[in-house]
Amino acid sequence: METFFGLLAGNTLTRLVFFPTVAAVPLFFFTKTASKAAKIYVLIASLIELAFGVLYLAAHLGRDGGFPLVHDTVLSWISGYGVKYDLAMDGISMPLVLLGIFLLPLVILGSWRGITEHWPMFGASLLLLSTGVLGALLAYDLFLFYVFWEVMLVPMYLLIGIWGGERKIYAAVKFFLFTMAGSLLMLVAILWMAWTFQRLNGGVWSFAYDDLLRLNLPLHQQVWLFAAFALTFAIKVPMFPFHTWLPDAHVEAPTGGSVILAGILLKLGTYGFLRFALPLFPHASEVARPLLLALAVTGILYGALVAWVQVDMKKLVAYSSIAHLGFVMLGLLAADVVAWQGSLLQMVNHGLSTGALFLLVGMLYDRRHTKKFDEFGGLARVMPIFAFFLVFASLASVGLPALNGFVGEFMILTGSFRTLGWPAAVATFGVVLAAIYLLKMIQLTIWGPITKDENRKLADLSFREIAALVPLCVLMLWIGVAPNTFLQPSRQTLETVLAQYRQRVDEPDVRQASLRPATTGAEVAATEAGR
């Protein structure tokens, strides 16, 4: 019988999730002034975590480039309620998990100068946040998922509230309350589902994803449960009109916080739709589709238009996130395999390009302590390397062919046009608008004459800053040129999930809640063999 600590020692998901927590413990014993030591320690820890991630990937990536569903040994956690400690990775969670692990060292490099006090606590918060995020992405038990989902909140709250800007407390509290408002209703929904499962299953409790997936619920029950889940995830994404916390959180958060927030935290919302809200409640999601589509398309256009009129670089990037994630939602709602692949890829793309943009804005802020366009202009003359990276990241975000954004958006739009028709056509305008606002930002900051004297002596990017940006740019180019490497691991998983989802959508509504028969081991083996 394996134990938790046994898992922690092996090449397992448990190690991926909990190594950051273990690494955070010594930080509590660093003195307040030991900034330098803490920085180096956290950087090394994050690189070790990255190595663990690569090792795990190497051990499980299939010969054909596909990524199968891999479970860690399932342990009992709260046995009275059948709550299990069950982590699993498949083609959907794998890219997001690796993105999260990959961004962590870059975030630390990007915060090197910007964070001036309480470095041990900053590092600990980052590491604990990673545990929460990775856990939420990998949890295969809904109780466990909920716990990780909430665990994410506290470190992020600290990141914004301690190292943030002027209105940091307002932003931090708003972030916390918005997120929690949704998730508490989701808790009730999870409890209701577990209780119903227990009632139908002869008193045996379970919160396992596979078990709750067996629930065959009538539409009128699904609608409520879907509403609770969808609200939670829609706030996290964030979809219009639940987006108001995002600009506040981004503007006030320190650079590192913004990168993590945009890079991974928001993806948990779209991931939640893909993993939980759609497959668990197929009929309800079908009913709610027009509404969600309207919100997604509105979000795309609204986010882009608002981004256009911003005068603050960080706010612009924040609103552009709303638009980009609108595309992801559009693709998920299309229920088409190409669109889903595009959505998943676009989640990663957004993490890379927006992460890079936030890092760049942060580097500028470290030098000038402002993020307003009109304070800059002509930076290409004094900071050519900076200008190169800014143009590169912006073009990736706009969707220039041969860079990553193009692939994702193209797949989403073609895929969703196939099943949805005109909403996809309307959303295409979002791509045009993205070009307008990002090019506006580039023009106002780095082209043209230098108008402010302070800008004449700005130092160009240091080696450390370049080191934080190069990996991002390499990946952007790689995805843009050879997207198949990144699409292949998740194709099989997405096809399976989509086939099951479609099949369930087509099933007639039932009168009463019932349980579908459990998939037996033999059937699983048969499907595996069929691959």
């Binding site: 009275g80 509230g161 407390i169 509290v173 916390f176 508490l184 209780w195």
Partner: protein
């Protein structure tokens, strides 16, 4: 029933009583030993815990309603579990008290003796199977509580707290006694079992009995500070010595919750009583009222002790969710919630007691600004307790809410559960306020006159670690409580 006095079964109470007497005598003959009274009292409490373990027939799963004094006092795994929760809060409060008493120059044996006797009253109250015994225990408890609330007699706010508590408490005792009389008149029994049988036999339309129950619910609602019987608690908490409030705000609620459960169980016994659903509605009303009143009033408090007082009202509201539909399955959520509440609330009051040096003045939350860095250990403990009070996983506070809401959902009370979670969202707002003052605001005051000793630190760390550890590894706790509450 043969007359049967088994003094052994009263061993826990006897240990505590004797320890109180010994401490009082030592105070008189050897006052130089005062500093060791805390250790003595803690030892006695631990001894009482062992005695409770010793006398409880843990291994006879079936016939465990062993009792003494003609069955007036119950000894079962259930009372054992409640006993341990009460003793835990006693220990935490004792540990927190030493530094407060020394700092204020009022270290005296009476304090420890009174606190131990409070615990005696509580243990008797939760073990009593009969209303008059409950009443006697309640009076024992209340007298000691009044004295302790006034213990810092040099500052007027402490006396004010005690007077307010005493006046209302005396009034409520009268209510309780009157209620007992009415119920006895209507059913011919003061035993919970007898009352239940009588009510099951005759249709429950009796005005006398209804009125009697109403009075009793009001009385125990007062002790638990359930809205609308909560008005005393903010003033009393604010004025009474902080480490004592760590006890006052939790322990009486533990025993009262069990008494309330027994009352409601008697009402619904047999399941046929036509009026029992009205009691469900009434409890649901009290629960929702407490959640709303507690949370919204706590939202506007600037004094941390008053904030915790109102938040306590809200917590009792969540607890009552488990008692809306009364069956044996309600007890497990109640116990888990109470245990969580004991740990996190006692932890919070301990830190408050250590970090505020002027008990006569307001304990402003804003005064904690930036102290999370000055006192990393205590600040961290307070933050953990606050997050636990807010119900954030992976703390025991979350687990308590989880079992309570799950119980409510299982009873078909999804609407109430939704109100509960939304109310707790309001709660998160004011608990977070403490955290952001601790870590996100610049310091505004220098510490002066603080006395932070190892006892107080131990209490804070025990409470914070307890909420975290039991939140992470709850299986053993839940299994034990499940067994303790399942035995009939």
């Amino acid at each position: 029933m043969s007359t049967h006095f088994d003094w052994m079964l009263l061993l826990p109470e006897l240990v505590l009583t004797a320890a109180g007497v010994v401490i009082l005598l030592l105070e008189a003959i050897a006052p130089s030993l005062r500093r060791s009274f805390t250790a003595l009292a803690v030892l006695a409490t631990l001894g009482a815990g062992y005695a409770a373990y010793y006398v409880t027939p843990l291994h006879h799963v079936v016939a465990s309603r062993a009792g003494t004094f003609n069955g007036l006092i119950e000894t079962s795994p259930l009372t054992f579990a409640f006993t341990l929760v009460v003793l835990l809060s006693t220990v935490l409060s004792l540990l927190a008290s030493q530094s407060y008493l020394r700092r204020e120059g009022i270290l005296a044996g009476e304090y420890h003796a009174l606190l131990l006797w409070c615990a005696v009253g509580l243990l008797l109250m939760l073990r009593a199977t009969e209303l008059l015994t409950v009443f006697l225990a309640l009076e024992t408890l209340s007298l000691c509580l009044y004295c302790l609330a006034a213990f810092h007699r040099r500052i007027s706010i402490s006396s004010e707290a005690a007077i307010k508590y005493f006046l209302m408490g005396a009034f409520v005792s009268a209510f309780a006694l009157y209620g007992i009389a009415l119920v006895y008149g209507a059913t011919g029994s003061t035993r919970f079992l007898g009352i239940g049988r009588a009510l099951a036999a005759q249709p429950f339309t009796n005005v006398l009995a209804s009125l009697g129950f109403l009075f009793l619910v009001a009385a125990f609602g007062f002790k638990m500070s359930i809205a609308p019987f909560h008005a005393w608690s903010p003033d009393t908490y604010q004025g009474a010595p902080s480490p004592f409030v760590a006890f006052l705000s939790v322990a009486p609620k533990v025993a009262s919750a069990l008494v309330l459960y027994r009352l409601l169980e008697a009402v619904v016994q047999g399941g046929t009583a036509p009026n029992s659903h009205k009691w469900s509605t009434a409890v649901a009303f009290l629960s929702v009222a407490s959640m709303l009143v507690g949370n919204f009033l706590a939202l506007v408090q600037r004094d941390v002790k008053r904030m915790l007082a109102y938040s306590g009202v809200a917590h009792m509201g969540y607890l009552l969710l488990a008692l809306v539909v009364v069956d044996r399955a309600s007890l497990m959520p109640v116990l888990v919630y109470l245990l969580a509440y004991v740990l996190m609330n006692a932890g919070a009051f301990t830190v408050v007691s250590l970090l505020y040096s002027r008990p006569g003045e307001q304990h402003l939350i804003a005064d904690l600004a930036g102290w999370g860095y000055r006192y990393p250990l205590l600040g961290g403990c307070l933050a953990v307790c606050m997050l636990s009070l807010g119900g954030i996983p992976p703390t025991l506070g979350f687990l308590g809410k989880y079992v309570v809401f799950l119980n409510a959902v299982g009873d078909g009370l999804v609407g109430l559960a939704v109100i509960g979670v939304l109310a707790s969202l309001v709660g998160v707002f004011y608990y977070l306020r403490v955290v952001y003052y601790l870590y996100m605001k610049p310091e505004t005051r220098q510490p002066e006159g603080l006395l932070i000793d190892v006892w107080g630190r131990t209490a804070a760390v025990l409470a914070a670690l307890g909420t975290l550890a039991l939140g992470l590894w709850p299986t053993g706790l839940l299994q034990w409580l499940m067994q303790a509450t399942a035995v009939k």
